[in-house]
């Protein structure tokens, strides 16, 4: 009871099915994330991981067919991107678009409620030299990932979703990225003081070595097929690939039928 009182349930996903055009992307996904928790979603390419975080963010083309997404106790299905972002939902995109003509500085000032932090966060992400550059134009892979985190630092969301934060990142950038992800997830605060929560989408899992997550899931074919300790799951995947999970998923399906 005490746990429940102190740690509010922030994100509640119930039986969520999502499609784009005629193609169904997610089938009956359930997920509950409380304050201070970090959940990790593994899965091969095309398994629906990005679709899930995109649907939570409210990106167009992700049409909810059934089920519900609740944030801070309220259904957000009727809300647009802006409202969801302003409620405290943030997403570090896997493939962020280039935004010609808009400098990083101008964008950060448009995002941040407190303009004074701009200087500090650009220093933290080692992007001071990029302030006057156009957003993502000519950025390297690592710079793009850091740029995403920089924008999230400006936005300061309570539910922070990272879509493949570690893919295509070299060792040099990795340390910095981990440091900022930790900050966004308030990992350096005592557990009971953490108010933020996170969802990390990854197919490699490298980032888990430095960031402790509470629960891991494997997603295959638009379904969450298993869940458990993130490091256990990661070990399994490293040893057996996703094949075993897939097999279990098929068996599960048969069982359900």
């Amino acid at each position: 009871m005490e746990e429940k009182r102190n740690k509010e349930l922030l994100l509640e996903i119930k039986d969520l099915s999502v499609k784009t055009g005629d193609k169904q992307l997610l089938y009956g996904v359930n997920l509950n994330v409380k304050e201070g928790e970090v959940h990790v979603i593994f899965g091969p390419n095309g398994s629906g991981k990005s679709s899930l975080v995109s649907a939570i963010m409210g990106l167009p083309n992700y049409e909810v067919v059934s089920g519900d997404i609740r944030f801070k106790g309220k259904s957000i299905l009727g809300l647009g991107l802006t409202e969801r972002a302003r409620m405290g939902i943030g997403l570090a995109f896997q493939h962020s678009p280039v935004v010609e003509g808009v400098s990083v500085d101008i964008l950060l000032r448009a995002i941040a409620k407190d303009k004074k932090i701009v200087h500090e966060i650009t220093k933290e992400t080692d992007l001071k030299k990029h302030l006057n550059r156009e957003v993502n134009v000519g950025f390297s892979g690592g710079e793009r990932k850091r740029g995403e985190l920089l924008q999230l630092l400006a936005q300061s969301p309570q539910l922070v979703m990272f879509d493949e934060p570690d893919s295509g990142v070299d060792v040099e950038n990795m340390g910095l990225i981990i440091k900022i992800v930790r900050k966004l997830l308030q990992k350096d605060l005592p557990i009971m003081k953490r108010k933020n929560c996170g969802i990390i989408v990854t197919h490699s899992g490298t980032i888990l070595e430095k960031i402790h997550a509470n629960i891991g899931y494997v997603m295959i074919g638009g379904r969450i097929v298993c869940s458990g300790s993130p490091l256990d799951i990661f070990d399994q995947i490293r040893t057996n690939g996703f094949a075993r999970c897939a097999k279990e998923a098929r068996e599960n399906e048969r069982f359900q039928l």
Binding site: G80, T82, R86, P97, V102
Partner: protein, 372 residues
């Protein structure tokens, strides 16, 4: 009869001309100043010995050679509007002249101001930069606060002599129903350079302007235009570069945004000698279903050894970019405003600081959430 109230109002309006870059308060460094109100030359002032700024009538008296320049590169029979200028008995206009080798540090400002409703402002301007000289000019064209109708008809002939360099920035901020027909030609002699920056971001009835530059050996020209077509405006704007001299080059860049307006964005480069190079970029952004942009990039090669290229695109604001900004908490109008501003800002870069600042401020105002 003009009363004191009229004079007071006029004074107020003149002091507000800084919106088109014309500083009447002495806040920005200017090398000289020229102001026409309706058809009267109100001010012609130079702060440099070797920079001559005069009403064209006085220039004709003081420098007899100016007579030969009139209608030497703009054909007086070109159209109805050039004929109107040619037929004026009392010519009105500016003469800006920089003597040989003089590099003028601060910009010269000029302003053509339509103050009376329904007035026909008819002008003939001449700019001459003698060999090796350098000048930045900022020209603002605007109407009084209450003026909606009126016509501005002008001929401007510019001569950039050998090795001279002129940067010419023009800001149009006309009344909602004003019609504007400037006829402009520029002759750029050997190794001379001419940079034109054109800004039109406010409502206008009709603008039709197609400046043409004739280039001698190794001369260069760059035309940049940023245009924001407002509801019911018709803007036909295009730059032409005739690369007659060996190794001459031209660049034409235009960024046009249409909001329930029609914009014709033209560009023409003729490569007519060996080693000539020309490049054109016409980018258009449509803001709604009632907007139209007609981009006409034209290249003509009349010599085997010329390199000409163009890129043209017209589209709407990319949904992906809009969603990206909105996912950070920006509302749709703010996100659109940022993207339109960025699109226009990309059109003009690298001007002298106090001119660039002025243009950036105008773009910010024109693309603010309230005005898009």
């Amino acid at each position: 009869m003009k009363d004191s109230n009229y004079d007071k109002k006029l004074k107020e309006e003149i002091s507000a001309l800084d919106r088109v870059g014309f500083d009447t308060k002495g806040e920005t460094e200017r090398s000289g100043s020229f102001l026409v109100i309706d058809n009267k030359e109100e001010e012609s002032l130079s702060r440099e010995d070797e920079l001559i700024i005069l009403p064209i009538t006085l220039a004709l008296k003081e420098y007899p050679w100016v007579k030969d320049l009139l209608f030497s590169i703009v054909n007086k029979d070109k159209d109805k509007w050039t004929k109107m200028v040619a037929e004026e008995e009392q010519i009105v206009g500016s003469f800006i002249y920089v003597k040989e080798g003089v590099k003028v540090q601060f910009p010269t400002q000029s302003c053509f101001f339509l103050h009376n409703e329904g007035f026909d402002q008819i002008l003939h301007n001449v700019i001459v930069l003698d060999p090796g000289s350098k000048l930045d000019v900022i020209t603002g064209c605007t109407t009084g606060n209450l003026v909606t109708r009126g016509r501005h008809i002008s001929v401007t002939e510019t001569f950039v002599r050998e090795g001279a360099s002129l940067s010419y920035t023009m800001i149009h901020d006309w009344g909602a129903k004003t019609v504007v027909y400037p006829r402009t030609a520029i002759k750029v002699e050997k190794r001379g350079s001419y940079t034109s920056n054109y800004v039109a971001l406010t409502k206008v009835g009709e603008i039709q302007s197609n400046p043409v530059a004739y280039l001698s050996d190794e001369a260069t020209v760059k035309f940049s235009s940023i245009i924001y077509g407002r509801p019911d405006s018709l803007i036909d704007m295009g730059s032409r570069a005739i690369l007659k001299g060996r190794g001459s080059s031209a660049e034409i860049i235009s960024r046009v945004v249409s909001k329930r307006s029609r914009i014709i964005s033209r560009g023409y480069i003729e490569g007519g000698n060996e080693g000539t190079k020309g490049h054109m970029e016409c980018n258009g952004l449509l803001l709604d279903k009632k907007s139209s942009i007609y981009a006409v990039p034209e290249l003509e090669a009349s010599h085997i050894d010329t390199e000409l290229s163009h890129e043209a695109s017209i589209g709407k604001i990319a949904g992906e970019q809009l969603n990206y900004l909105m996912s950070r908490g920006l509302d749709e109008e703010s996100a659109r405003s940022l993207l339109i501003r960025g699109f226009l800002e990309g059109g003009i870069k690298g001007l002298p600081r106090n001119i660039q600042d002025r243009i950036d401020a105008m773009i910010r105002k024109a693309t603010s959430k309230e005005s898009i």
